[in-house]
Symmetry: C2
């Protein structure tokens, strides 16, 4: 008889007492313990959250060996791959190794290849060895194991696309799925950081829902990203600016929308201090959606108040219903985006 | 013909280039310049942010003359009363001196007594003389002038209540005003930190909008706060718990609502790591509103994902339309709450 753990995994928390695993400093990553409502996986690779990977990469001066050492150190100290500076995690891909007896009725079997859709910041992880660091795509290949709790969500990887392609897209699945909910027909939508992985998916979904009368403007830093977005046909216009320069963003964004403010702004950048650039271009009563993990709660809250903006500011929730399907469908229905993802993130 | 300034006041930024006045090191506090979309006020007193005032007081060894000199120095260097160590400001009380011609249609006239509802950290300020330092209440009386930009929010101080009572309530006006929008008839609402200043106002507004068939449950730490809420008649029930213990909060909150999850949870606590206690009790598709400035963006974003909760999480915006009126009306219509505020916060 296996021991039953807590639905949310609190049985794995070492310190501090009484919190969930995401808030814990340290969790138990012993894979030899057997709980009846856990799934243990053999991990193949980790897709590190973009803000986290950038922080580690910068700290290590881009040196691969130092990055490996830093990641091993974090996981050994915390029992999970949660960046102590950014607080963020990422996701893993792996094969199911052991299914607890209480979860046997799930449509899942040992050997199935899955992607975790919960953050590494709350997932017990044990790394034996890091076998490769893929700097350009925020990914590391490892040998090790991870645990999914009863409440933990995951996706069995689809048969109609390569696993790394699916993984790259699923990593940011919350953003396009939320975009699908937030954007209404005819809306003017500003996407900051539109050239990145989540940005491209968000633009595509925004354009789909805003429709022909809507207007989707992508903000990027580089001309090459602007060209890319235009060639994908998922934006009505682009602006070149830095999200840390709110006044410049505001002026260019308004100009790109005929002087009018936006109904929705979606922040997909991976730099800090981008709150005001996201808030300023939005109309009274509009929606600001922060998907970037580098967002500061207080900067957003006080910033909107400081400029008297009555906007609804939403914290990007990594999960919403059908987010995996919505995101994989973008790749299925848009060969150009699939091609871009295969070229850039796989 | 007066010159029109930028809506957000960037025309007053001296350095660095391209930021808003809050992020600026130095802004232009020349009150002789006339812009058509500014309001100039004769300042009566500054309510310095608590963290800022403490830092200055400590630095000056509590000496009133030194505190005066330090404040004069900061304002002369920066053009605003933004503490260079804490980064924070405060607010001012004053009378309207000059209204720019583009803002003449506002319901405001010279001589009106107002409180600024934007931070001193972004407000051009010129001090002639500091006439008094009130060490116990973080307040200084001055002779000088301040500028409100077109986007700057303020409240005309009401005639039917003492100034300090109005200020105590206006300080947290965003929370009850947002509650009025979020809570629908029949909703089950959980208010965390219900015994504090914002919590009481939020419970009152939540109960008003949830109606007789709705259910408002207040979470507090102390029995005395529980008794207070029940005697005010603004909750249907109370639970005693700590917001940093999410599992405990979840269990007690569900019990208080007949085992059912909540439609809305509103976080008014003043401690860190209260994100999960706010998220866990909410139903799929429900709303989580974080008013607490101690909220961590990443803890909320990753936390909801980690437990597979499809909820809409909103960042508490200090401003929304009519927030001052909604909040002062609570005091007008609820003598018991007014009495509590007079006793506790004035």
């Amino acid at each position: 008889m296996q021991t039953k753990g807590n639905k949310y995994g609190t049985h794995r928390v070492i310190s501090p007492h009484g919190v969930l695993t995401q808030a814990a400093d340290k969790i138990d990553n012993d894979m030899n313990k057997v709980y009846s409502n856990e799934i243990v996986c053999d991990v193949i690779s980790l897709n590190i959250d973009s803000a986290s990977f950038k922080q580690i990469k910068d700290e290590c001066g881009g040196d691969e060996e130092k990055i490996k050492t830093r990641i091993m150190q974090i996981v050994s100290e915390r029992g999970k791959m949660q960046n102590p500076v950014t607080g963020s995690g990422g996701m893993f891909i792996g094969t199911v190794s052991r299914i607890g007896e209480d979860l046997k009725n799930r449509n899942l079997k040992a050997g199935d290849k899955i992607a975790s859709l919960v953050s590494l910041s709350l997932t017990p992880l044990n790394i034996k060895r890091i076998t490769a660091v893929h700097i350009g795509i925020d990914r590391v290949d490892i040998e090790g194991q991870a645990v999914l709790f009863e409440s933990g969500i995951y996706a069995v990887l689809p048969n109609d696309m390569p696993e790394n392609l699916a993984l790259a897209a699923l990593d940011v699945a919350g953003a396009p799925a939320q975009t699908a909910r937030l954007v209404k027909k005819g809306d003017a939508v500003l996407v900051l950081g539109a050239g990145g992985k989540s940005g491209v998916l968000v633009c595509c979904e925004a354009k789909k829902h805003a429709g022909a009368k809507g207007r989707v403007i992508g903000m990027v830093r580089k001309q090459s990203d602007a060209d890319k977005l235009l060639s994908l046909g998922i934006v009505d216009g682009v602006i070149l600016a830095s999200a840390t320069q709110p006044v410049d963003v505001l002026e260019k964004a308004l100009k790109a929308n005929g002087g009018r403010e936006y109904d929705v702004a979606i922040n997909c950048v991976n730099v800090a201090s981008a709150e005001m650039a996201t808030i300023l271009p939005v109309r009274d009563g509009g929606v600001v959606y922060f998907f970037s993990m580098a967002t500061s709660f207080t900067k957003a809250a006080l910033g909107a108040e400081g400029v008297g903006k009555d906007v609804t500011m939403i914290i990007g929730n990594g999960y919403c219903h059908n987010h995996a399907e919505i995101t994989l469908d973008i790749l299925r229905k848009n060969p150009k985006i699939r091609e871009l993802f295969e070229k850039t993130y796989v």
